[in-house]
């Protein structure tokens, strides 16, 4: 009720202002008043304070070039509007008698633009309370009958929070927008967005659709709750919420009322919009959509052009931001060293993103949302056009496409009868640089963006002075900033100032003359006329008559040569491929072949690779069509398999918020761009088991990948693989080294760790016994898989007591612990491990980094191996993984393994631990052609991987690597020169500097990064 009185009060105020204006006649304020010409039509229910002033707001815009939509342009056409809606548009339109007619000769009329991704009218969500060092928060802080997780905010409706704000609307209107989809960008499920116009009217009138879309992201936003703490946790939460919401439809008594799930279900009817933070996020979101039969409209980040084929395959419509990266200041070569080629290339290529989408036939909208200043919007659309986007597509992406996606094309997005009177009047084609946006009409309300130049006065005039002569005068420049010159033998530059209908001019009459004739007057509909002073100061009269228009040069945005851009690289990294390599048939001749099989080491032996498999091993094999690689004096081994790795993972390796997080999956967060894939190929690694971290007793599901450099996340994965999961024991799990505030999460002792497992598997067993209609629980599903030996454990472990414990728990639930990793006291319980059937993946010689490794010994691997435990040496470290062969060789020194046995610790043994020994891990006919050609004995510190072959593809080649270094240098120089030129042109630049690559160890809780120099 309170609000109802605000409006009349405002009206009263504005009347006072107009009264003041009349008295002071400030032209500036008058213009401001005009700029928001209000044809307010009162609402029925609202009382009027004063005299009712009902108006229909009927206008006719005649003689215009009307661009009804991106396909349809009508010349010399008329647009009629009434009551905020379009009555008709086109030629042969009857102008109603009560219409106010505006002659739009020479002008263009476009539908106002639609921004499908905005937070106009909504305040930022605030992060409540909770200091950085607060105790862990396990449940949502949101008060009310909502769900358990604070980042699931399905119940939030932007329409309830929406407050029209003309201060924020104005710059959007000035950029050409008339309608926006507005949301509060906070949380993983962000609730609904509302479709509103940018009219300066009461909320009641501007809301076009209360709930127009549901919005999602992977970002927990202001949630203070610990879960999720990682990207994979966000994904798991989304997935579980889909399931929970489905289950909630049955109105389970146990759950009671859950308004979040209720709203989630209601929101499913709406268009579903997902905000992705990078190109891989797009694919992650799309995959979740596929799992639950949802096709998201995806808000992109700006680097999707790097994987356009994958983007097309999502079949999604996209929302593309236009915040192209700024130029980098490369002036200081010391600082420039820390700018990666990838960053420079992104600067170069990002403006081509919309063009790439158009070329790939992917539907897309454009949004201004990520721009620091919305004023930059049109300039950036133009930039996208110069990089190949068609003007037609640009218009469609800002009108019909967003309107259609929001099922609002019946209201906005084109100029057709019945739609809202949302349109732009411009001086020329919308995207041309010189075009002036004069007016933006929203719901029949006129908003003057630029008054000057509405009357295009440019042309040749005859100015006649009385008394005096006639002069030929040319008015050039732009309609809003005209320039004047007197046309005589010489063209004499004068001066002209136009203020709406008022004009003043100075006409020089001779070259270099200081004296001019000064004129002032009005621009009347029937010619210009007024008074003036001649060079002697005598009062004169004058008039000017239009003779003809001066010819103007054609003005449009021209695409630059797209060929001028450097090549795309796969992955988008200095060492990426320009073209992905193909599988080859290869014959490696005359090498020392370390088979990691019973055959042992074979001298002077050939290995034939065909169709990605090892086809033949023997002497003097015939090459056939295979490319021959001379292996004389070299050594061939199976590719190294790293059983414990954390490379190629995005945004968190630990979902550290709860003690059991078996629902999270590394498979969801692969990062194929990680340069460590390439670096490790250079060390002979061909497959890596990517593990969740060790922050909790039951961590996340792991993923085995092959190091297929340049492939996308899905293609990195090893297909048909027995799934694994990470468990952890000891200090990390009980948070021993996390500081004093972390003494709340259960467990804090090794006793509690055992209870966590017993409880989890008991719950899983009970869950399994539940009948139909049970709530599907992804956390327990994974544990049920373990109980049935369909998912396998690799468990971070140190001391003997805990190793013993987990085997007991497993025995009591009748499953087997597949692998203990780290397992630095494995040597103390090797016999028990063997009896249980557990394998070991350990470090060669780490110790003394914490209390629980005080008894770690470098002989550990040798003892376990000697007892008969399947033992591997692994890395847990991106640097060490590049030389796992050397780490394996340490077992020769510590424990006296033979060289062949030592090599098995990083080839066939990890393959056995991962259940892929039937196809990987050794050189045997029929197995995958994952092999490494070494310059020397692979156990020697002096050995270098010369070629690393994965599935018969040469993924790393030391000679090719030298070429890549040259290419990096050339490309860096090319782009550095361009960036320097950019700075010279005066383009604002950002500082050059270091951006850390993401990098993890299993103890990293949040942001892992490179430690070399960044600390």
């Amino acid at each position: 009720m309170k609000r109802a009185f605000e409006k009349p009060a405002m009206a009263l105020l504005s009347r006072c202002v107009s009264y003041a204006l009349l008295r002071y006649r400030s032209p500036l304020m008058l213009a401001a008043l005009l700029a928001t010409g209000s044809f307010a039509r009162a609402q029925e229910t609202f009382p009027v304070n004063g005299i009712a002033d009902p108006r229909e707001g009927c206008f006719a815009f005649t003689h215009a070039t009307i661009v009804k939509d991106a396909q349809t342009t009508v010349q010399n056409a008329t647009l009629v509007i009434r009551d905020g809606k379009i009555v008709d548009a086109g030629t042969g339109v009857v102008v109603p008698k009560d219409a106010v007619v505006l002659d739009c000769k020479g002008k263009y009329i476009y539908p106002s633009l639609v921004d499908i991704y905005s937070s106009y009218g909504l305040s930022d969500a605030k992060r409540s309370g909770s200091a950085w060092n607060a105790a862990p928060q396990f449940l949502s802080n949101t008060k009310g009958a909502y769900g358990w997780n604070q980042a699931i905010r399905s119940e939030v409706n932007a329409v309830d929070l929406f407050a029209a704000d003309d201060g924020k609307a104005r710059p959007l209107r000035e950029a050409g927008f008339g309608t926006v989809l507005s949301q509060q960008p906070d949380g993983i499920a962000r609730g609904t967005a509302t479709l509103v116009t940018l009219a300066n009217s009461k909320e009641n009138k501007v809301i076009l659709r209360e709930r127009a879309a549901a919005v999602y992201s992977f970002d927990k936003g202001t949630s203070t709750q610990n879960y999720p703490s990682s990207l994979m946790g966000s994904i798991a939460l989304l997935r579980q919420t889909y399931l929970d919401a489905q289950w909630y439809k049955s109105q389970p008594a146990k759950e009671g009322v859950n308004l979040s799930l209720q709203a989630w279900n209601a929101n499913q009817q709406l268009p579903q919009v997902f905000e992705a933070a990078d190109k891989w996020d797009v694919l992650r979101a799309d995959k979740i959509g596929d799992e639950f039969g949802v096709q998201y409209i995806i808000k992109a980040s700006g680097n999707e052009y790097q994987r356009i084929a994958e983007m097309a395959a999502t079949k999604a419509a996209f929302i593309l931001p236009l915040n192209f990266p700024g130029a980098i200041d490369m002036e200081d070569p010391g600082d420039a060293r820390f700018v990666s080629l990838a960053e420079m290339k992104h600067w170069e290529m990002a403006p081509a993103e919309p063009a790439a989408f158009e070329k790939a036939n992917i539907p897309f909208c454009l949004t201004a949302v990520d721009l620091k200043d919305v004023k930059q919007f049109m300039a950036n659309v133009r930039k996208a056009i110069t990089y190949g986007l068609s003007e037609q597509k640009a218009l469609e992406a800002l009108t019909k496409t967003p309107a259609t996606l929001l099922k609002a094309y019946d209201k906005v997005g084109s100029l057709e009868a019945g739609k809202l009177a949302n349109f732009l009047i411009t001086s020329g084609p919308l995207f041309s640089e010189k075009t002036i946006l004069y007016q933006n009409w929203v719901q029949g309300n006129r908003y003057v963006i630029k008054a000057d130049g509405w009357n295009d006065i440019r042309g040749i005039y005859t100015v006649t002075l009385t008394p005096g002569n006639s002069y030929s005068v040319e008015v050039r420049g732009t309609p809003s900033a005209p320039l004047l010159s007197v046309l005589q033998k010489d063209t004499l530059p004068g001066r002209i100032d136009v203020n709406d209908k008022l004009v003043s001019m100075s006409l020089p009459l001779a070259k270099n003359s200081k004296n001019s004739i000064r004129l002032s007057g009005i621009i009347g509909d029937n010619g210009w006329t007024g008074t003036g002073a001649d060079t002697s100061g005598n009062l004169i009269r004058w008039n000017a008559v239009f003779v003809k228009t001066a010819p103007e040069k054609a003005d449009s945005v021209k695409p630059t040569e797209v060929a001028a851009l450097g090549p795309l690289l796969y992955p988008f990294n200095g060492y990426g491929w320009e073209k992905l390599p193909k599988q080859e048939d290869l014959l490696i001749k005359n090498a020392t072949v370390w088979t990691s099989e019973k055959d042992g080491k074979l001298e002077n032996t050939d290995v034939l690779i065909r169709n990605g498999k090892i086809a033949q091993i023997g002497k003097s094999l015939s090459a056939g069509n295979a490319r021959v690689i001379d292996g004389t004096g070299k050594h061939l081994s199976a590719g190294i398999i790293d059983e414990h790795s954390h490379i190629a993972i995005s945004r968190g390796v630990n979902e550290s918020s709860q003690s059991v997080t078996s629902e999270v999956r590394i498979a969801d967060v692969l990062n194929p761009d990680d340069v460590n894939i390439y670096r490790q190929l250079s060390g002979g690694v061909t497959a890596s088991h990517l593990l969740h971290g060790s922050a909790n007793a039951i961590g996340g599901q792991s993923q085995l990948i092959k190091l297929r450099w340049g492939q996308n996340a899905e293609d990195l994965k090893v297909a048909n693989w027995d799934p694994f999961i990470k468990f952890a024991l000891g200090e990390n799990v009980k948070q021993s080294n996390w500081g004093e505030r972390n003494t709340v999460r259960f467990p804090q002792t090794r006793m509690g760790v055992e209870q966590i497992y017993t409880d989890a598997f008991t719950r899983a067993r009970d869950y399994e016994r539940q009948g139909a209609g049970k709530r599907r629980d992804l956390e327990l599903d994974a544990l049920v898989e373990i109980l049935h030996q369909k998912r396998f454990i690799t468990c971070h472990s140190y001391v003997q007591s805990e190793i013993n414990m987990l085997m007991h728990v497993a025995d009591s639930f009748h499953f087997r612990v597949n692998t203990f990793t780290h397992i630095l006291e494995g040597y103390k319980v090797a016999d028990k491990m063997k009896a249980h059937g557990a394998g070991a993946g350990t470090f060669a010689d780490w110790w003394a980094y914490k209390m629980e490794v005080q008894d770690a010994i470098p002989y550990n691997a040798a003892i376990m191996n000697g007892v008969g435990v399947v033992t591997a040496i692994n890395s847990d470290d991106a640097e060490m993984a590049r030389r796992l062969n050397q780490e394996a060789a340490k077992t020769i020194k510590y424990g006296g393994l033979s060289e062949e046995e030592a090599l098995k610790l990083v080839t066939i043994n990890p393959a056995r631990l991962l259940h892929v020994d039937n196809r990987m891990g050794s050189i045997k006919v029929g197995k995958d052609a994952d092999v490494v050609l070494w310059s020397d004995n692979p156990l020697s510190i002096y050995a270098k991987a010369e070629k690393t072959i994965v599935d018969g593809i040469v993924e790393f080649d030391r000679d090719n690597d030298l070429q890549l270094r040259k290419r990096i240098a050339t490309e860096r120089n090319r782009l550095t020169q361009q960036l320097l030129a950019e700075k010279k042109k005066g383009t604002p630049t950002q500082k050059a500097g270091f951006v850390a690559d993401e990098m993890y160890h299993c103890e990293d809780l949040q942001g892992g990064h490179q430690t070399a120099i960044g600390d």
Partner: protein, 432 residues
């Protein structure tokens, strides 16, 4: 003998770790020792095949292919097929200052405060650290023990790794003062867009800190000029050795701009400056050479600084410094990790150093940089008999097995806690 100790330990029901406590430092060399028929890697680049090295009273008395036969009082050890090396020197270590990295009570490496030139690492060196023996058994016989808190962290000392206590261990006391330069890494990624911004502030803060140190040095130097002070400043007093060139200045930094500042420091204070870290030293190898600034190079087993860098850049940086004539030695992070120092040299050799240059990079060069080359670092007459013997190439893990080691002529016990645990469990499983 060792076996007996272990059995005794078992009989007494002791935890095996106690056996480590009976590994005693060796007594002074009482008889001349001759290692004969060995491949002797001198450490200065020379290799003597089938040679003999003789030492008495802790000093090398002869080395070569034609050393006169030993007298009857000498112990002669036939080293046929074995390699004899100078002991490896760890030039930058927390050894003896830290026992378990995550357990605060066991950490004595970082003192409070930003400028602490009077803090001395030797005081806290724990000669009984369990880690020490695991280094010796890999041929590492000396280490510079370095404090690392704050900006000027204190003074290091070089220790020999067979000692009863820190006084006994001290090989060169207070050899260098350590300055950990605040990082000058510019932050990118749109951070600090525009002229000022957070990135600018961070660099400014770093430069301010460096200036604070510079000012401190100037004041300390001025303080030395006047003999009498009403109030004694221990921090300034402790700088005397540095300005007298009795002590070196080790500046820890990695990036070009940081190293240029370090060189500038060397000039202003006429200090004997060494750069520790030097990840990007290969970019200014010529400048380092011109200014005679040596480098304790960060370990080759590191990741490249930048994603565009050559994938083997850290492996080959040593070779680039060698080629430019820069005096450098190799380091290895931490303390327990340093048993791998020889293998870091092995990698540097795989990527450009000759085998003997790689050995020099962890022996003689380290001795020069630490200021102890008059007495150690190579197997030359008159130097201390700091010697490691390996059955194979000591720089390659697949062949490095240290069979004997001598510190100042004393044959040291190569047993360690880890070997003892190994033996304990070999026995349990009947593996031997």
């Amino acid at each position: 003998m060792k076996k007996n100790i272990i059995l005794l330990g078992l009989a007494m029901g002791c935890h095996m770790a106690y056996a480590q406590e009976t590994i005693s430092p060796a007594g002074p060399q009482d008889k001349p020792v001759y290692l004969t028929n060995a491949t002797i890697h001198v450490g200065n680049g020379a290799v003597i095949n089938n040679g003999t090295i003789a030492f008495a009273k802790g000093k090398i008395t002869a080395v070569g292919a034609n050393v006169p036969a030993a007298g009857s009082d000498a112990t002669v050890m036939d080293m046929k097929g074995q390699h004899v090396y100078p002991g490896i020197i760890a030039p930058e270590s927390k050894l003896g200052l830290v026992e378990f990295e995550s357990v605060r009570a066991t950490i004595d490496a970082r003192e409070v405060g930003e400028i602490n030139p009077s803090v001395r690492s030797i005081i806290a060196y724990n000669a009984d650290s369990k880690v020490i023996n695991t280094l010796r058994s890999n041929g590492i016989l000396l280490a510079q023990v370095t404090p690392e808190g704050g900006i000027v962290s204190g003074v290091s000392s070089v220790v020999q790794l067979d000692a009863w206590n820190w006084e006994d261990a001290a090989y060169k006391t207070d050899n260098a003062l350590h300055f950990f330069m605040p990082g000058l890494l510019p932050q990118g990624g749109g951070r600090g867009a525009g002229a000022a911004g957070a990135a600018g502030d961070r660099l400014k803060a770093a430069m301010d800190q460096i200036e604070t140190v510079r000012t401190f040095f100037r004041e300390a130097k001025a303080y030395q000029q006047e003999a009498k002070h009403s109030a004694t400043n221990l921090k300034f007093e402790s700088m005397r050795a540095l300005f007298n060139k009795e002590q070196k200045l080790f500046i820890h930094c990695n990036l070009v701009k940081e190293m240029l500042i370090a060189i500038d420091f060397a000039k202003e204070f006429k200090a004997d400056v060494t750069i520790v870290g030097g990840a990007d030293a290969w970019l200014i190898a010529d400048i380092l050479k011109q200014n005679n600034v040596p480098v304790v190079l960060t370990q080759p087993h590191s990741l490249p600084v930048m994603q565009d860098d050559d994938v083997d850049q850290p492996y080959k940086t040593a070779a680039l410094l060698q080629k430019a004539g820069v005096l450098f030695c190799l380091s290895n992070e931490g303390f327990w990790q340093q048993r791998n120092l020889g293998f870091e040299a092995g990698t540097a050799s795989a990527y450009g150093l000759s085998r003997e240059e790689a050995l020099t990079a962890v022996t003689l060069n380290a001795a020069k940089i630490l200021g102890i080359d008059k007495t150690t670092g190579s197997l030359e007459m008159g130097k201390d008999a700091n010697i490691a013997v390996s059955t194979g190439d000591m720089l390659d893990m697949k062949s490095s097995v240290i069979t004997k080691a001598f510190i100042q002529g004393r044959e040291i016990n190569l047993d360690n806690k880890q070997k003892q645990l190994y033996e304990k469990y070999e026995k349990k499983y009947g593996l031997k």
